[in-house]
């Protein structure tokens, strides 16, 4: 079944060599074909493929499903890209080509059981995004594409470095099996040199953190998402980050088995630092793109600490909710910023007609949902995530320290909350009313993502099962 | 029961007398020809005869408020300590209710001041609001201290108790309470140095400014109210701070009681003659002294042996 996942994507890849203008109506349909094998995978039991190098387990199924929905939404939204930005047909075709490659890399790394395959998929996805960023022809985008190329590859190399170290630490006892997540997980106690493993984990973590834009690289990611066209940012937040987070989830559960206190200490300190910086950066932000990408970083941090604190359900729910909400917001920036980058005031005013009204309501709801106001799934995920953290704190020897940390996180989150409320009110109630055009494809994408978010509320049991 | 009713009637009837008494003593001390002691009754009688003129700007409030100025005070009279022991009386009403009733009366008085759109009514109300806001805590604290000393929260009960168990152990706090209460009498009844009831300069007056637009029957009501208010305070003072003579038969006790009030009026008159009116923003200093003494009374009661 896994093979069929690649089929629609390869089709897009092939089609991209022909005239996209004609075939672009079919592209969303083709990409939604991905759903078929994804859904079928959902009901197959856990399976391993290709000598255990790829596998399908509950986590993978879930992530694949989320990614598929986001991917379809982005293809839908891509249809109206031409209306918002100037883009030549050649570049448009290339964009689709790399988009397909990107998705393939994504699926590879999500379904990987071998750390190596995980890395290969990630690298593929990363390199193909470089070109997607470059589709924008401004000098700024060009510079950022190079930045992405350099920094992204450094980050990826660090991840590989870590993977090799982990492999090296486990190989004496596990042999070639040491490359597989499953084998590592079940034989973690047999690792001789825990220190080497931890150094390896540190490398992997640092690499992933850079990739996700954690401190001190938070500006980098925001700049890139600013430079690229908005669907790229949507893909970034919805898919690429998802893949990295999934990988990090797997690595951190290994590290947790080995030495929990080190892992907790490391991630908490890192998360606090990142949140501290990100919260204040958000506080000063002046355009939508940066606002959303910085808040993306914030949510990655939250997911990660939820996961390492043992709130698997919360982390996954948060992950899925973020994967739906953030691309939706990024897609809508195309319209929101149609009056220019720095026009937050009145950005959510002046929508006429059914499509416009729908768009307005949806974006307003997304804005409120992303700051985890009920009944957004994020409300529940944060609640459960923090409860996991408290649970952890209560069992630790540093209760007051941990509580202080958690309180700090909560207060930093409320700074972000304030900024979002501020932006929400500014875009809704201030500024002049100027008419803006909304296209069916964008609204379609938003509706799809909104429905997916709603569906999350009904699938708590399912997600809980994965976490357990 | 019947004695209590007589007592209340006496208080209502004799109320204007004592205000006139103060005035007469003052005039006598200033080498003027003292006014007759029945002057208060004459004034009231004259007012009752007169026609009521209601300001064009005034609303229903002017027609209703004078009744509500007087009625709470009459109600408060019901709760006064009795003149003789062993008599039926309402003993359970405490300081908070009493001050509440007084405040209700003041509330409507202040509304009258604002009702007629005259600047002077506003001045009066504003100043009255200021002073009575500061008086209220002092009042409650004093009565609280007294009820602690007398070991009963009910006003009348406390007075009776003070008679039977004179607080020889708590004389300090008893004295403090007396001083504080005395200042409050001056403040609440608009006596010098807080307010000058005989002033003719509008800018310096408080109480009179509020009722400037009233006439006839309504003015009579308000004037009666201020007389009764004085009576209430005087009764409270004498029955708390000189709780003697209530063991006597009713008529003698009543006579002693009236003599005590006359004595109190004399003291007030002496003070009025010998002090100048305070500027409005100096008034809080005096009230502050009252509040501090009330606090001292409470605290010394606790500290010196409860």
């Amino acid at each position: 079944m896994l093979e069929y996942l690649f089929l629609p994507l390869s089709l897009i890849f092939v089609l991209s060599f022909f005239d996209v203008q004609k075939s672009k109506k079919y592209l969303p349909i083709i990409s939604s074909l991905v759903l078929v094998p994804t859904f079928m995978l959902l009901f197959t039991p856990d399976r391993h493929y290709w000598h255990d190098r790829l596998m399908i387990d509950d986590l993978n199924k879930f992530v694949l499903l989320v990614c598929a929905i986001v991917g379809i939404a982005v293809t839908l939204a891509l249809e109206s890209l031409r209306h918002h930005v100037k883009i030549s047909p050649r570049h448009y075709r290339r964009f689709y080509r790399f988009f397909a490659l990107f998705w393939i890399g994504m699926i590879l790394s999500v379904t990987a059981n071998s750390m190596g395959i995980f890395w290969v998929g990630l690298e593929l996805a990363t390199l193909s995004t470089v070109y997607m960023i470059k589709t924008n022809t401004t000098p700024f985008a060009h510079k950022e594409a190079w930045n992405y190329m350099i920094v992204g590859t450094i980050a990826i190399s660090l991840i590989l470095f870590g993977i090799i170290l982990i492999y090296a630490s486990a190989k004496p006892s596990l042999g070639e099996e040491a490359m597989l997540f499953t084998a590592l997980k079940s034989h973690i106690s047999r690792i001789h040199s825990a220190y080497l493993f931890e150094i390896g984990f540190a490398f992997v973590a640092v690499g992933s953190f850079i990739k996700m834009g954690f401190f001190p690289m938070n500006l980098w990611l925001a700049n890139i998402e600013r430079a690229a066209y908005y669907p790229v940012a949507a893909l970034f937040s919805g898919l690429l980050e998802s893949a990295i987070v999934t990988g990090l989830f797997r690595f951190s559960s290994l590290a947790k088995e080995l030495n929990q206190s080190h892992l907790i200490g490391f991630t908490y300190i890192y998360a606090l630092l990142t949140l501290f910086v990100v919260a204040f950066l958000i506080y000063r932000v002046k355009d939508f793109m940066r606002l959303f990408s910085l808040s993306g970083i914030e949510h990655m941090v939250l997911m990660l600490i939820f996961w390492v604190s043992g709130g698997y359900f919360a982390a996954l729910l948060h992950f899925a909710a973020h994967a739906f909400l953030k691309p939706a917001l990024f897609i809508s920036t195309g319209v929101l910023e149609s009056r220019g980058k720095y026009h937050i005031a009145g950005a959510l005013k002046g929508y006429k007609g059914f499509k416009g009204r729908l768009f307005q309501i949806l974006v307003a709801l997304f804005m409120l949902a992303i700051i985890s106001l009920p009944p957004s799934p994020m409300f529940f995920s944060e609640l459960f995530g923090f409860s996991a953290m408290i649970d952890l704190a209560k069992g630790s020897h540093h209760l007051l320290l941990m509580l202080f940390g958690i309180l700090t996180i909560l207060i930093l989150l409320s700074i972000i909350f304030y900024k979002f409320v501020d932006v929400y009110q500014t875009m809704r109630y201030e500024g002049e009313e100027r008419s803006k055009r909304v296209y069916a494809s964008e609204v379609g994408a938003l509706v799809l993502l909104a429905l997916a978010t709603l569906a999350l509320l009904g699938s708590f049991d399912f997600i809980e099962k994965i976490g357990g | 029961m019947i004695y209590t009713l007589i007592h209340i009637a006496v208080m209502v009837i004799l109320a204007p007398l004592f205000l006139s008494l103060i005035k007469a003593i003052k005039m006598w001390l200033l080498f003027k020809k003292p006014l007759p002691l029945l002057q208060g009754y004459n004034d009231l009688a004259k007012l009752l005869r007169k026609e009521v003129i209601i300001s064009q700007e005034a609303s229903q409030i002017t027609r209703i408020a004078p009744y509500l100025v007087l009625a709470p005070l009459l109600t408060a009279l019901l709760f006064m300590p009795p003149v003789t022991k062993g008599e039926w009386y309402i003993g359970f009403v405490d300081a908070f209710t009493l001050t509440g009733l007084l405040a209700l009366s003041t509330f409507f008085l202040m509304l009258i001041g604002l009702d007629s759109a005259s600047a002077f009514g506003g001045i009066g109300s504003s100043r009255e609001a200021f002073i009575s806001a500061l008086v209220e805590p002092g009042m409650i604290l004093v009565i609280f201290a007294l009820s602690l000393i007398a070991k009963n929260l009910g006003i009348a009960e406390a007075a009776i108790h003070l008679n039977t168990h004179f607080p020889t152990h708590h004389l300090a706090s008893y004295t403090f309470a007396a001083i504080a209460f005395f200042i409050l009498i001056l403040a609440e009844n608009g006596r010098i140095p807080i307010d000058n009831p005989e002033t003719h300069l509008e800018l310096t007056m408080v109480h009179e400014a509020m009722v400037l637009d009233l006439s006839g029957w309504y003015l009579a009501l308000v004037e009666a109210a201020s007389a009764i208010k004085y009576m209430i305070f005087a009764t409270l003072f004498v029955s708390f701070f000189s709780p003697f003579g209530i063991g006597a038969p009713f008529l003698i006790a009543l006579a002693i009681y009236l003599a005590k009030i006359a004595f109190l009026s004399l003291i007030i008159a002496l003070i009025e003659v010998n002090t100048a009116k305070l500027r409005l923003f100096k008034v809080p200093n005096l009230l502050g002294i009252a509040i501090i003494f009330a606090f001292l009374s409470l605290i010394s009661y606790y500290m010196l042996g409860a």
């Binding site: 510079k143 350099i150 920094v151 660090l158 150094i199 540190a202 640092v206 001190p216 500006l219 980098w220 080190h262 200490g265 490391f266 009920p374 609640l383 923090f386 409860s387 953290m389 408290i390 209760l399 909560l410 207060i411 409320v421 009110q425 | 009521v52 003129i53 300001s55 700007e57 609303s59 409030i61 509500l68 007087l70 009625a71 709470p72 009459l74 109600t75 009403v93 405490d94 908070f96 009733l101 509330f107 604002l114 007629s116 759109a117 005259s118 002077f120 506003g122 109300s125 504003s126 806001a133 209220e136 409650i140 609280f144 009963n152 929260l153 400037l212 029957w217 409005l280 606790y302 500290m303």
Partner: protein, 625 residues
């Protein structure tokens, strides 16, 4: 998940009393609202979520409804978002509620051991085993009392409540604040008991502070709705005095007195809901007709809007705690429980309690002054502006709303014993002893101590009516003639401009408390020919900002701005130095792992710091050009 125990039912009843008249009023108010659907959706959500909070019996559902409550009330404030100040208020409000929510969340997480679906009755055991119970209490205070508007977390309240449509202001001030207190009481009595004495004293002090500061700032306010909002702070303080006394008594193992104090607090909760709602409703009617919130532009409205005026007067009497209204009764009970201190053995506590009595009494005095001002300036005298001149009585729905709320006020007064029995039964479900047999005799309320006072609202009312009726009859008998004519007014002509203004009315008190208010006074006058005392026009303008706004809030904001600026600068490295940052990052992480994971020593730690400082200097910062 949900509970319908007596305490929850009591507050559902409370909600019903608060919302039903409000619904009529809101319906009548609707023609003033442009976004009608928006309003109704959020209004209904607001009411339902308050009900949800009340019946919630797990942390999860409680927090869920709590946030919905905040969310919908925030949107309700934004019903008419045109004004800048409304938006600012909404933003401030929403942030503050979220700020409180943070602490609430932390509290619930700590007492539920992380499993949010635990029912409340299981939380007590966990809270008992927690090592730092005072921490829980502080979280509780910050969480609930920031929502209830207790000093110093009150600053948002006078901004937020007035910004909403009046029906919503009434709901927010009258009902929502009490929902926060409901949560506070439930958590205290169900989860955190038993507590040390100091907690009670803390609550008492907070209550005393809030009541004084609330009323002082209300006095200085010219915006009628902000004035009322400030009074909410005051009344929350009074309620807290009751709760604090109850806590002190429970800590001292005097459960009967504690029940009495809690009864007083609950009764005041109900009373404040009734009269504050009525005040907001009638103030809303005035606003509806005159289109201004500025009290200086009203005047004489009692003639054109009699029903509104009389209901405002009723509520004003009640909030000023004048006998025999319901507000008086509950304050009397709180006063009685403060006086119950004579049976306390703890000397320090005993000596400090008079201060609470003092606060309560001074608050009462100032409240009277404030409502004389509010009622007098708004409804009496002459019209101070054209807006006031053209005001007429509001429509039937709004009148019905006010009448119903007035009926609630009167009902709470007349049927006080009945209500107190219900409160007693609700408190009994927390294991507090029932005292209704001891304090309620027919229609009077007795203080618990044997030598305490008694109050009977019916008796007082009857006496007042008796005497007034007697005087009226006397007037009839004397055949008093009345004539409506110019009165003397010291020889001046009375015009709207000769009247006393609200600013002037509060002048003496404002001057007395100037050290506290620290007002911004603007005094512009055009002097004539250099004379300082002769002028053609003069404008005297006083602005008073809430206490702690400058120090606590503006200070925090300034700090945030500065901090964020530095971080912004700090985060904007030159972009081609990413690699250098990564280098240092990797270095520090590896170093950290090496030290922590293998052998920890402060010396190596210091060494690491030095080396990192060097590499950062060389690689990231570089040399100054």
């Amino acid at each position: 998940m949900f509970t319908f125990d007596p305490f929850a039912l009591l507050f559902l009843f409370f909600l019903l009393l608060g919302v039903l008249p409000n619904l009529f009023y809101a319906y009548g108010y609707l023609d003033h609202i442009q976004r009608k659907w928006h309003f109704w959706i959020h209004y209904v959500a607001f009411v339902l979520s308050m009900g949800g909070v009340v019946v919630s019996y797990t942390p999860l559902s409680f927090l869920f409804f709590w946030e919905i409550m905040s969310l919908s009330s925030w949107q309700l404030i934004l019903t008419d978002p045109k004004e800048e100040s409304t938006q600012k208020a909404a933003r401030f409000y929403f942030f503050m509620t979220h700020f409180g929510f943070v602490f609430l969340l932390l509290f619930f997480l700590l007492v539920s051991n992380g499993s949010l679906t635990l029912s409340f009755d299981k939380l007590h055991a966990i809270a008992q085993n927690f090592a730092y119970p005072s921490l829980l209490f502080f979280l509780l205070i910050l969480g609930f009392l920031s929502k209830a508007g207790v000093v110093p977390l009150h600053v948002w309240l006078p901004y937020a409540h007035p910004a909403a449509p009046s029906a919503v202001s009434a709901l927010m001030s009258g009902v929502m604040l009490k929902i926060a207190l409901y949560g506070f009481m439930r958590m205290l009595l169900e989860v955190l008991y038993p507590w040390p004495l100091e907690w009670g004293i803390l609550i008492l002090v907070l209550g005393a502070l809030s009541s004084l500061i609330g009323v002082l700032y209300a006095l200085a306010e010219h915006d009628i709705k902000a004035l009322l909002a400030n009074h909410s702070i005051e009344n929350i303080g009074i309620i807290l005095l009751g709760i604090g006394m109850g806590m002190i008594f429970l800590a001292l193992k005097l459960p009967m007195l504690a029940t009495f104090a809690f009864l007083a607090a609950l009764y005041h909760i109900f009373n404040h809901m009734s009269f504050k709602s009525l005040l907001f409703l009638s103030a809303g009617s005035v606003l509806h007709q005159t289109h201004t919130k500025n009290i200086e532009r009203y005047g004489g409205l009692i003639k054109s809007m009699p029903l509104t005026a009389w209901s405002f007067l009723l509520a004003a009497l009640s909030i000023s705690a004048l006998p025999p209204t319901n507000g008086f009764l509950s304050e009397w009970m709180i006063f009685q429980s403060l006086l119950g201190s004579s049976s306390i053995a703890n000397m320090a506590l005993k000596i400090s309690l008079p201060f609470a009595v003092f606060a309560l009494a001074l608050t009462g005095g100032l409240a009277i002054a404030c409502f004389v001002k509010a009622f007098g300036i708004t409804f009496l005298g002459l019209h101070r502006s054209a807006n006031a001149k053209h005001a007429t009585e509001v429509n039937a729905f709004m009148r019905t709303g006010m009448l119903l709320m007035g009926a609630v006020v009167v009902g709470l007064m007349l049927f006080a014993p009945w209500f107190l029995r219900r409160f007693d039964a609700a408190l009994a479900s927390f294991g507090l002893p029932s005292i209704s047999q001891k304090i309620l005799f027919s229609w009077s309320i007795h203080s618990l101590t044997h030598n305490g006072g008694v109050v009977s609202p019916l008796f007082l009312l009857a006496m007042l009516i008796f005497f007034s009726a007697g005087l009226v009859l006397l007037a009839k008998r004397l055949r008093i003639r009345k004539r409506i004519f110019h009165t003397w007014a010291c020889g001046y002509r009375t015009t709207p401009r000769t009247q006393y203004s609200a600013t002037g009315f509060a002048g003496p008190i404002r001057r007395f408390f100037e050290w506290l208010y620290r007002p911004d006074v603007h005094f512009h006058k055009k002097t004539l020919a250099g004379h300082t005392t002769k002028f053609s026009t003069a404008l005297y303008d006083v602005h008073i900002r809430p206490l702690f706004e400058r120090s606590l809030y503006d200070g925090t904001k300034k700090l945030l701005n500065r901090l964020s600026y530095f971080i912004y600068r700090f985060a904007h490295f030159e972009q081609n130095r990413y690699a250098a940052i990564i280098f240092n990052l990797t270095l520090s992480v590896l170093f950290g792992y090496r030290i922590v994971a293998h052998q920890f020593s402060w010396a190596t730690f210091a060494l690491e710091a030095i080396i990192l400082a060097f590499t950062i200097k060389i690689l990231v910062i570089g040399e100054k050009r």
